[in-house]
């Protein structure tokens, strides 16, 4: 476990996506989720989005999950697109730092009884398109998720298992590799590990969500200078606790959160539809620096 930076450290984040199209795009529409989400352990002080060529219209609102979403349209013919998101955020370690929690069996019983505050977690307990439930995942997670063990200890053990048994391999999988193939091949990137861990937890009835964001670059961390993804788990009495299976850590000030949802599809940083354009190439650059 790496040591956390001091609480309330400020960072500047710049995320640039550049698209080059083989043919002219006559019309394009994009939806981006590139604005960090404010929360208990994260304050967002300044944020802006620069679109080139300029958008003919753009609207920013909170989506169903509460993430800041901007939808914009470019109506003039274009051959390239550059989207730059810049933010100033300060992050601190979460209040609940340890693994104290009720045993898994009790936690699940609590969830079934639907205590106050637990109802919203149901959304993340059921399957979603990219993070299904299944006996395959249940079996894989069974040794870690012992019914008598405190829930968060079990989750921590599952994270360690995944980190130990899976190879980080940026070329083995693509955005659309199903999580079953990830389990089979024992390799992938942060997105794959997050989906796998979520599938394992949901298959045991534990609510888990997908978190999109960035890593503060430090020696030894995997996945900085790019979009990152990790997992958040709901535990009755405690609330949501983050786990990063790619780096085998519980985020504590070194992770900057953009937003969360059921899986990648809900929080995709940038997606769009173009009319025309032919084939395209894309380059993404993420820069996180101390402010």
């Amino acid at each position: 476990m790496s040591t956390a930076p001091p609480p309330g450290t400020a960072y500047r984040v710049r995320h640039t996506s550049r698209y080059a199209y083989a043919e002219t795009v006559s019309l394009s529409m994009h939806q981006v989720r590139l604005t960090p989400r404010a929360g208990a352990a994260q304050a967002v002080r300044d944020t802006r989005l620069v679109i080139d060529p300029p958008a003919s219209g753009s609207v920013t609102r909170e989506d169903y999950f509460g993430n800041v979403t901007t939808t914009f349209t470019i109506q003039d013919a274009h051959r390239h697109l550059r989207v730059t998101a810049e933010s100033l955020v300060s992050v601190s370690a979460p209040a609940h730092a340890g693994l104290d929690s009720p045993p898994l069996t009790d936690a699940l019983a609590r969830l079934r009884g639907r205590g106050p505050g637990d109802a919203a977690a149901v959304e993340y307990q059921v399957e979603s398109p990219l993070a299904p439930r299944g006996s395959l995942y249940a079996r894989y997670a069974a040794p870690a998720l012992d019914p008598d063990r405190p829930l968060l200890e079990g989750v921590d053990a599952l994270m360690r298992t995944i980190h130990r048994e899976f190879a980080y391999d940026p070329v083995a999988t693509t955005v659309s590799t199903p999580v079953a193939d990830v389990l089979e091949g024992r390799h992938g990137v942060c997105q794959d590990f997050a989906h796998l861990m979520i599938a394992c937890l949901r298959s045991h009835g534990v609510p888990a969500r997908y978190v999109s964001g960035y890593l503060v670059p430090r020696p030894g961390v995997v996945g900085a200078q790019a979009s990152h993804a990790w997992v958040s788990v709901y535990c009755p009495d405690v609330g949501w606790v983050d786990f990063d299976p790619t780096n085998n850590v519980r985020p504590a000030g070194g992770h900057i959160t953009l937003g969360w949802g059921r899986d990648f599809e809900d929080v995709s940083p940038l997606k769009g539809v173009t009319v025309g354009g032919g084939s395209h190439s894309v380059a993404v650059e993420v820069l996180v620096t101390p402010a």
Binding site: S17, Y19, S26, L27, M29, H30, Q31, S56, G57, V59, D63, Y64, F65, T71, T73, Q75, R114, A119, V122, E123, Q125, V126, E127, P129, R133, G134, S135, V175, E265, D266, S268, P269, L270, K271, G272, V273, T274, V275, G276, G277, H280, V282, V284
Partner: protein, 833 residues
């Protein structure tokens, strides 16, 4: 009197006959009339109904492994009769259910109190793929979530009605119900009147007013479109039919575009705003940007436009969440809670396996229940537990235990029976009726009728049409209810006179262009075949061995006949006859008449909502004539008759188009296609007929004159003197001959000038340049030079034909490929990172 031989099944309610064996009173008129008409008369009228269905192109698609098949709509002529007093009760109950589901939808996409307070399970909602989070917080105008709601009703042995399933996404079948009525009205017109069956038309009129009132902006004459997935959709016929019946434009996703948060239709004249979209496809296929999933079939940005309130969608996006059969288990409590009333129309007993107690109950009784997916997607598989072998039932139980929330189980109902026409008279079949509630602005109208569906036998409970079932018209008779009072005020301000045809979508324009080309091409083949026929007659003065072999090689050169057709050793007359018969009868060969006509019919199918009923019937007739009676066409008399018939049918199609179509852009594009194809066909004939000098050139010239329908003109000018140069003048240079190339070029030039998007002054469009070049090439040529024979050929003629053909090819490409007229839509792509 009960028809003799009609035996209801024990343990089932029969719609026509009571438990005492007596005819139910409300059936008296219908049963009496049909019995009196007699078996043969009913059979005759059934045939008549089939012909109407075929002529109207009333079909549905069956998607099976290995492809999609188009089938004619099955309709049993015996109506299903419902008593008016009983219907009045049903109307109220269906209306209540529509209001209830409307309220449920409003909550699910709004405050979600039902979830927070536990009236509906959170798991059910959150695992429901039809719950579209992108639609959260959307409030449709007037809070109306269901403009159209449908319920599948069944009747239990005690006579009570139950709901088997709800349809809230984009309920289908309404168009078929209406078309069934139109067909039955066509063959049993008097009976419909004497039985006092309630009419359907008024409900549709009310719906039109209601939809217009719901369009944002409250324009006097809002633009409403029907959004269809396209011609391969299961119910495309219905989409096209309803669009035409209601007077709306039928569009596919690619016909629409969103600019500045407003939806526009891409028309030949430019972009025109759309006010309301009547949706015939699932919500998640409507906006690839918002709902993703790799679909590009929808309208990117539609959700944002809806959110801005610039366009309305009916039913609103996301409405499909309420058609999960799992919801039926909770409706009685929801009804008390939301409407403060008891549910009037109960559901067939339903258990959602996501609930633990319900699941145990289901697993205990798996052998008696019907299992269905809780979240039906496109297909709705059902599993009858009773019919499963032990092993499979265990596997089903296993699947349920693993993913319980994905399943519901329903009590198996002993369906009621209703009579269908059968060999000996009438025979009972199981019945399910789909009824429709249509929003009228301040509540719901229930269509006084519906879509009846019956099983293929009493051994099967399957009433689906793809499973072999049939459909029925539903008649509500007897007691009439107070006429509907519409709360929508009558329009006061007059609608401005418009002569424009601006709502012609570019895709439709493209289809019209190709329809014109296919119609002309089919005509050219028919005329050529017919021109060759006289050669087969022993009495013909034109017949010579050289003429016969010349004609055969001519057809081969034109690629109508495969090389070596008819066998090398056959005498030339037999070989030619075999080749002509093959062109008439073969279906798979490219270029055969059947192939041409199939293409023509497919092009017309894409334009179902644009062609007049007459035009469509003419084309249907063309295809069915060619498909029937194949053996007769092997011999000469039959061939001749068929060809004469087809020439007449094609001429009547031209007539229907020329006399019936407004001279707008649609007609222009269709005529553009015709003219261009006709010019190309004549060029081909001249190239293969005259650019090399044939052994028997006189016979060749006669053939060309016949094939171009120019015999009369030629004779009137030159009597019987057959000269190649005179023919070239008539077919290529003479701009007064409506069959000649010069005439077509002249028309094309006018059409190009009339295209809507004109270039800036001083600049010429590519189309204009190409047609001007072709016209000049033909005008500037000298006939004698053109027809000069060198080395057994006419090289100058060949060069000119090549040149004009190339210009026309370029013109076609310029129109359909490179310019904006017909292709506003470049391919839509997803990008993500």
């Amino acid at each position: 009197m009960t028809p003799p031989g009609y035996a209801p099944l024990a343990g089932h309610y029969d719609e026509m006959v009571g438990p005492d064996g007596a005819l139910r009173p409300h059936w008296r008129t219908v049963t009496g009339a049909l019995s009196a008409a007699g078996r043969h008369e009913i059979a005759r009228r059934t045939q008549e109904a089939r012909r109407l269905i075929r002529d109207n192109g009333m079909t549905f698609h069956v998607h099976r492994e290995g492809g999609t098949r188009q089938r004619h709509w099955p309709l049993d002529l015996v109506p299903c009769v419902i008593d008016g007093a009983e219907w009045a009760q049903l109307e109220q109950a269906v209306t209540q259910r529509a209001r209830l589901l409307n309220a449920v939808l409003g909550d699910l996409y709004g405050p979600r109190r039902l979830i927070a307070e536990g009236a509906l399970p959170a798991e059910w909602l959150h695992a429901n793929p039809a719950f579209l989070r992108g639609c959260d917080g959307l409030e449709p105008p007037g809070g109306r979530w269901l403009h159209l709601y449908a319920a599948d009703l069944v009747r239990a042995p005690d006579g009570s009605w139950w709901v088997l399933g709800d349809r809230t996404e984009a309920p289908d079948g309404l168009g078929f119900a209406l078309e069934n009525r139109i067909v039955v009205n066509g063959v049993l017109p008097d009976l419909l009147v004497t039985a006092k069956a309630r009419r359907l038309a008024a409900t549709f009129e009310a719906r039109k007013l209601s939809l217009a009132a719901n369009a944002p902006g409250h324009r006097e004459n809002p633009r409403i479109v029907v959004l269809t997935p396209g011609p391969t959709a299961e119910n495309y016929f219905e989409h096209a039919f309803l669009a035409r019946y209601m007077g709306y434009t039928l569009v596919e996703g690619t016909d629409l575009t969103v600019r500045n948060y407003r939806v526009y239709i891409k028309t030949l004249g430019g972009l025109e705003p759309v006010d309301l979209i009547l949706r015939s496809q699932p919500s998640e296929a409507c906006d690839p940007l918002e709902f993703g999933g790799g679909s590009v079939s929808g309208v990117p940005g539609l959700v944002e436009a809806v959110r801005r309130g610039t366009v309305a969608v009916a039913n609103p996006l996301g409405s499909g969440v309420a058609q999960s059969p799992a919801l039926m288990a909770f409706l009685p409590a929801l009804c008390r809670r939301l409407l403060d009333a008891e549910l009037k129309l109960p559901s067939v007993a339903t258990w959602w396996c996501g609930d633990e107690a319900a699941r145990e109950h289901v697993l205990d009784r798996l052998d008696e229940l019907v299992v269905k997916p809780a979240y039906p997607r496109v297909r709705r598989e059902r599993t009858f537990g009773r019919r499963l072998p032990e092993g499979q039932r265990d596997r089903l139980a296993d699947r349920i235990a693993r993913q319980p929330h994905r399943y519901v189980a329903q009590e198996q109902v002993a369906l009621s029976t209703t009579p269908v026409r059968a060999a000996g008279g009438f025979s009972p079949r199981f019945l399910v009726i789909r009824v429709y509630a249509l929003d009228h602005g301040d509540g719901y109208d229930v269509l006084p009728g519906g879509l009846g569906r019956v099983s293929s036998s009493t051994d099967s409970l399957d009433v689906t049409l793809s499973g072999g079932g049939s459909s029925k018209d539903v008649w509500v008779v007897g007691e009439t209810v107070a006429p509907h009072r519409s709360l929508i005020p009558d329009s006061v301000s007059p609608i401005a006179v418009s002569r424009a045809t601006f709502d012609l979508p570019s895709r439709i324009a493209d289809n019209l262009y190709w329809l014109g080309r296919y119609a002309e091409r089919a005509g050219a083949v028919v005329r050529l075949l017919r021109a060759a026929m006289p050669l087969l007659s022993e009495e013909s003065s034109r017949r010579s061995t050289a003429a016969l072999t010349g004609a055969l090689s001519f057809l081969t050169d034109l690629d109508y006949v495969p090389p070596g057709a008819g066998g090398g050793d056959l005498p030339p007359a037999r070989a030619l006859q075999a080749a002509l018969a093959a062109m008439l009868c073969e279906s798979d060969r490219r270029g055969s008449l059947r192939w041409q006509v199939d293409h023509l019919r497919n092009a017309a199918w894409l334009l179902r909502d644009r062609l007049s009923a007459d035009s469509w019937r003419i084309i249907s007739r063309l295809q069915s004539d060619l498909r029937s009676d194949r053996s007769a066409r092997r011999e000469r008399g039959g061939m001749r008759r068929t060809l004469d018939q087809m020439v007449m049918i094609l001429a009547s199609f031209s007539g229907a188009v020329n006399e019936g179509m407004t001279r707008g852009h649609g007609w222009r594009l269709l005529d553009f296609g015709r003219r261009l194809e006709r010019a190309l066909q004549v060029i081909e004939l001249l190239r293969h007929g005259l650019t090399t000098v044939a052994e028997d050139e006189r016979a060749r010239i006669e053939l060309l004159l016949d094939a171009t329908d120019s015999v009369m003109t030629y004779r009137s000018r030159y009597l019987t003197s057959l000269r190649a140069n005179l023919l070239v003048d008539l077919l290529l240079l003479d701009d007064a001959n409506p069959r000649g190339v010069a005439f077509q070029l002249d028309r094309l030039k006018q059409h190009v000038a009339g295209l809507p998007e004109r270039p800036a002054p001083g600049r010429r469009s590519p189309e204009s340049k190409l047609i001007t070049a072709a016209v000049a090439a033909v005008e500037l040529v000298d006939l004698d030079e053109l027809c000069e024979v060198r080395d057994g050929g006419r090289p100058a003629l060949a060069a000119l034909l090549d040149r004009v053909q190339e210009d026309l090819g370029g013109l076609s490409d310029a129109l359909t490929l490179t310019r904006d007229y017909l292709t506003h839509a470049a391919p839509v792509r997803h990008v993500a990172r």
